[in-house]
Symmetry: C2
């Protein structure tokens, strides 16, 4: 029925034919994940350029020796990441922009470290205190019950950047002051087996009080960026409540949002 008769179909090639995929069925890594990673790598390093079609899922699955649902699962994970777009009746293509960094629960320490700023941390306080009303509400515990209070001053190149005040539920973990001086709180939580899952944040601004100004070596009345955050683990239990203030002259939040369909 094909108009071109027996001639090989001059398909666009889908830009994916040149890419070699190596799937290891004996690996404990799921096949859909292996495929997703290799697709992502192909996009990242340019083998798949923005706008390129991926080729239909049926062909892809037979070519890879996988079932269509498995291939779909791989593709879907990249769609969720914002790297691919599906269009019914058209195909799947690479998004046109270089959107890369996903949204993250920003860790100030990691942010600064990634920027090569060599962050340092002074632990000002690390002790148990009774929970005030706002802290108790945020952590979902009784007012007056004991919580860990953590006050830290973070700096880069000897210049203060932020004052961090955090509260953790009782008996969650023992925080080693020494280790807090050399790493971030979230990394410490992670290494203790606590996986953060979500957080509620409020970001605002206000003028520095005299005390805050002295602490951060700003002038009284200087603009400060403020952030309150309650973080939850994967079961939805509050893990941390913090009140942070940042020198607006030296820090800003930078993040990427993905809109929920």
């Amino acid at each position: 029925m094909a108009k071109t008769g027996e001639r090989a179909r001059a398909v666009p090639g889908s830009a994916l034919d040149a890419v070699h995929f190596a799937l290891d069925r004996s690996s404990p890594v799921p096949l859909y994940y292996q495929l997703a990673q290799q697709l992502e790598a192909a996009i990242e390093h340019g083998a798949l350029a923005p706008g390129n079609l991926l080729g239909n899922e049926i062909d892809l699955s037979t070519r890879l020796g996988l079932s269509r649902p498995t291939v779909r699962q791989a593709i879907q994970s990249l769609v969720d990441k914002g790297l691919l777009v599906r269009r019914r009746g058209v195909g799947t293509q690479v998004v046109h922009s270089q959107v890369k960094r996903p949204l993250e629960l920003s860790s100030l320490y990691d942010d600064l470290e990634a920027a090569g700023q060599g962050p340092t941390t002074d632990v000002l306080r690390n002790e148990r205190v009774p929970a005030t009303a706002d802290v108790a509400a945020a952590l979902g515990i009784a007012e007056g019950s004991e919580v860990t209070l953590l006050e830290r001053l973070r700096a880069t190149h000897g210049q203060p950047v932020a004052f961090l005040c955090n509260y953790l539920p009782p008996a969650l973990l023992d925080l080693d002051t020494d280790r807090l001086g050399t790493t971030g709180l979230y990394r410490l939580l992670r290494s203790a087996g606590i996986t953060l899952h979500s957080a509620r944040q409020t970001v605002g601004a206000r003028s520095a009080t005299a005390e805050e100004a002295a602490l951060l070596t700003e002038k009284e009345g200087a603009a400060l960026l403020t952030m309150q955050r309650t973080a939850y683990d994967d079961t939805g239990r509050p893990v941390e409540y913090g009140t942070h203030i940042y020198r607006a002259s030296r820090y800003a939040f930078d993040f990427q949002l993905l809109v929920r369909s």
Copy 2:
């Protein structure tokens, strides 16, 4: 083989037996989506309390007359939303916190309206101008090419809240100044068939200049919250670039993050 003989198994009931699910196979709405919505409703209105087990997926699927993959798809969508947690060998349960609002590309207009603040908008400028270097870079177009410039002052109860400056790519759409006075930009874009997909934001703070102070009826030097945002559609093409300033005394960003696994 059951130790209890013919007695009905005294299963915990899974708290889901009492919930009635109405699936309409003739509806154009996918079955997995119908199920997800009804599960979410059950969680929202308390029929499924935090910590409740959902019951295993096989039973659930036979009980609903669906296949397991379909039920899994419904459950997975709620897991992605952060409402459910899966634990291998244990089961699926409702998260322990009342995390509700997902992360959204915050629309100031919608935020204020949702808060019952009855926002008003003064359109100060709505015209075509040549793109400056920063605007051109953000929108991925040539410097000097024509873009739509939009300047708006937003207020509630007669009090200014924010000054919004936005740039849109050429020929994207014609913005009706009258409609901009009564709704938000994002809603206008949406009704024009443009679906936002992701955005890159930078949030900071600074002290108000004399002009800004006058515009927002603040004192010179007052703390302002600043936001720059580039928004992209679902193909990754830039759709809007904006520079906003907010009175810190009257506004803060409030949002929820979901950590990517």
